[in-house]
């Protein structure tokens, strides 16, 4: 029997399930990006303080980033089984390269004369970092968070293969049953989620950087 391409009645009948997977997807995005930032931030500060650390740290993050997604999940299974951690740990490691690099480059991008002035005004090192350098690095750091977030939203779907997956489960469902409706719903929602997250972070940047807006 020929199914219709998109079945609204399926959507209406499975709203609860769709919401649950969407929520799951959001958690599997926010937690890795958040953890990734918590790890990358001190690594970035250390790289600024001791510049020799930067290359090796970036190298390690780069190697982690280059491991195929599925392989990393499979490597995790013996340690963490099919739990959420199996998804979260690799997703977190993937964000490190982008977040570390953007945080360091953002801090390095502060003009030297601004730094010189701050030093000469009598800022202590820590205060200068938090009051002057970090605020000025916000646009580059947020740019990193945006890429990391959108990437992670895409990767989450793959974790459906190890029993996690958020919206990825809808892809699996549609694929296994040769029934396109869940696939389309999952696709549309994950694109919408990526766009919303990107715009949301852009909004955060707008709020944090009033000095970058055009003169009113």
């Amino acid at each position: 029997m020929a199914q219709s391409f998109f079945d609204w009645s399926w959507v209406m009948g499975n709203l609860g399930e769709i919401w649950a997977q969407l929520a799951e997807h959001i958690i599997l995005t926010v937690v890795p990006v958040g953890l990734g930032f918590l790890m990358a931030f001190p690594m970035a500060l250390a790289s600024i303080r001791w510049p020799r650390l930067y290359s090796p740290l970036l190298g390690v993050a780069g190697i982690l980033f280059s491991i195929p997604t599925l392989a990393l999940f499979v490597i995790m299974i013996p340690f963490t089984g099919l739990s959420k951690a199996t998804a979260i740990v690799p997703l977190t490691l993937y964000t490190l390269l982008i977040l570390l690099r953007n945080t360091v480059e953002g801090l390095k991008g502060v003009p030297s004369h601004v730094r010189e002035a701050a030093e000469a005004m009598g800022y202590t090192r820590t205060r200068q970092l938090f009051r002057i350098e970090l605020p000025l690095a916000v646009p580059v750091i947020v740019a990193g968070l945006r890429i990391a977030t959108v990437n992670t939203i895409a990767y989450v779907a793959i974790t459906a293969l190890i029993g996690q997956g958020g919206l990825g489960n809808l892809f699996m469902d549609g694929f296994l049953r040769q029934f396109p409706t869940p696939l389309i719903v999952g696709l549309v929602l994950s694109v919408a989620l990526a766009v919303a997250a990107d715009l949301g972070l852009l909004g955060v940047q707008y709020v944090l950087t009033p000095w970058q807006r055009n003169p009113g």
């Binding site: 003009p111 004369h113 601004v114 010189e116 002035a117 701050a118 030093e119 000469a120 005004m121 009598g122 800022y123 202590t124 205060r127 002057i132 605020p135 000025l136 950087t209 009033p210 000095w211 003169p215």
Partner: protein, 363 residues
């Protein structure tokens, strides 16, 4: 007071940026460090607030060894202005100016009042307070830079080419305004420039540095021009040294001659007598209020009973006491009488400045 005691700065690669430099910046004076690039003038400046540490020797600030004071504390007593200004792009103008007050913990009201006062002091309108640096012109940013340096009323100011990045007209204006401000504030200032004319204009004293961190001469601008220590200094001071000297001496600093002074109603004989006494062939004519009417050649009085009978020629230009002798010279070469007539602010006659006055001053 800031003293350099045999201060040497040698870098690991062997470059010497300061070679046993010794000099003293008296309290309340503006001292300019000037020299070609690579002479270590900026290094010398940055050793004062310990942005650079000397290899040898000692710098004292009000008798205290700078090296014994924690750098952030030392710096909060020293206003700092640089060519690129270095305003904090993410802070409003008000917050930029408030940098040091907030570092040293002033309360909000006191800080706000001080910021308002300083925005006035440096000649900006209060409207800029809530703008961000990039919304201001280069000249305005430079003024904010000065306001920020003055915020906590530091006794010392360190200025590195502070007016180097603005166009010549704005630079001139900022220099004038800063000198006027300094006459009130009497800060102890070290000012770095590569421009000898700026050095001569701004400095109570000028230190001329040579490549390799050598202090060639340290003196007042007038003494430098009158007695340059060596060929390097002569070269660095540039051409027209005598004109530059004249530019530094105000008309008020020299004796002026009374000159042959008559009124229209005086007799021609009286005028001839006045001219003879002064050794001139002309007289200057003033009215009852002592306003200058002009001048008359003695031989034009022939056949006239009174001075007023002859045609009185007007002067084209005068000098006042706050102008320089160089301005007087300029007036002099234009005048057919070869003198510059000195008047007060209301145009009343005070006397004449002659060629002899100038050569006497330059001896």
């Amino acid at each position: 007071m800031i003293t350099f005691e045999s201060v040497t700065k040698r870098y690991a690669d062997g470059t010497v940026a300061a070679d046993e430099v010794s000099f003293e910046v008296p309290e309340g004076e503006l001292v300019v460090l000037v020299g070609p690039s690579g002479c270590g003038k900026t290094t010398a400046l940055r050793m004062v607030n310990r942005m650079i540490e000397p290899t040898d020797g000692r710098i004292t600030v009000n008798g205290e060894d700078a090296a014994s004071v924690p750098a952030p504390r030392l710096r909060r007593d020293m206003g700092y202005v640089i060519q690129q200004v270095g305003l904090f792009p993410h802070l409003t103008i008000a917050d930029n100016v408030a940098t040091v007050p907030s570092l040293i913990g002033w309360d909000k009201d006191r800080t706000r009042e001080r910021v308002e006062e300083l925005i006035d002091t440096v000649g900006l309108s209060q409207e800029v307070a809530n703008r961000y640096p990039r919304q201001l012109s280069g000249g305005q940013q430079q003024r904010v830079g000065v306001a920020r340096a003055l915020a906590a009323d530091p006794p010392i100011m360190l200025m590195d080419e502070p007016f180097g990045a603005v166009d010549p007209i704005v630079r001139d204006l900022l220099q004038e305004e800063f000198l006027r401000l300094q006459r009130e504030l009497k800060k102890t200032i070290i000012f770095v420039t590569h421009d000898i004319d700026e050095a001569m204009k701004m400095g109570d004293r000028v230190a001329i540095f040579n490549v390799g961190g050598i202090l060639e001469q340290y003196s007042t601008p007038t003494d430098l021009l009158a007695e340059p220590a060596n060929d390097f200094v002569v070269d660095f001071l540039g051409a027209e040294r005598n004109l530059k000297r004249l530019a530094l001496i105000p008309v008020s600093a020299v004796e002026h001659e009374t000159g042959p002074l008559v009124s229209r109603n005086d007799s021609s004989d009286h005028a001839r007598e006045a001219a003879r006494e002064s050794g001139t062939d002309w007289v200057i004519v003033t009215d009852a209020e002592n306003q200058v009417e002009g001048w008359v050649f003695i031989n034009e009085l022939d056949g006239q009973q009174t001075v007023g009978g002859a045609e009185v020629q007007p002067f084209e230009a005068f000098v006042t006491e706050d102008e320089s002798l160089r301005a007087a010279l300029d007036v002099m070469v234009e005048s057919p009488l070869n003198v510059a007539v000195r008047v007060d602010g209301d145009g009343r006659y005070e006397g004449v400045v002659t060629h002899n006055t100038l050569t006497g001053e330059l001896k």
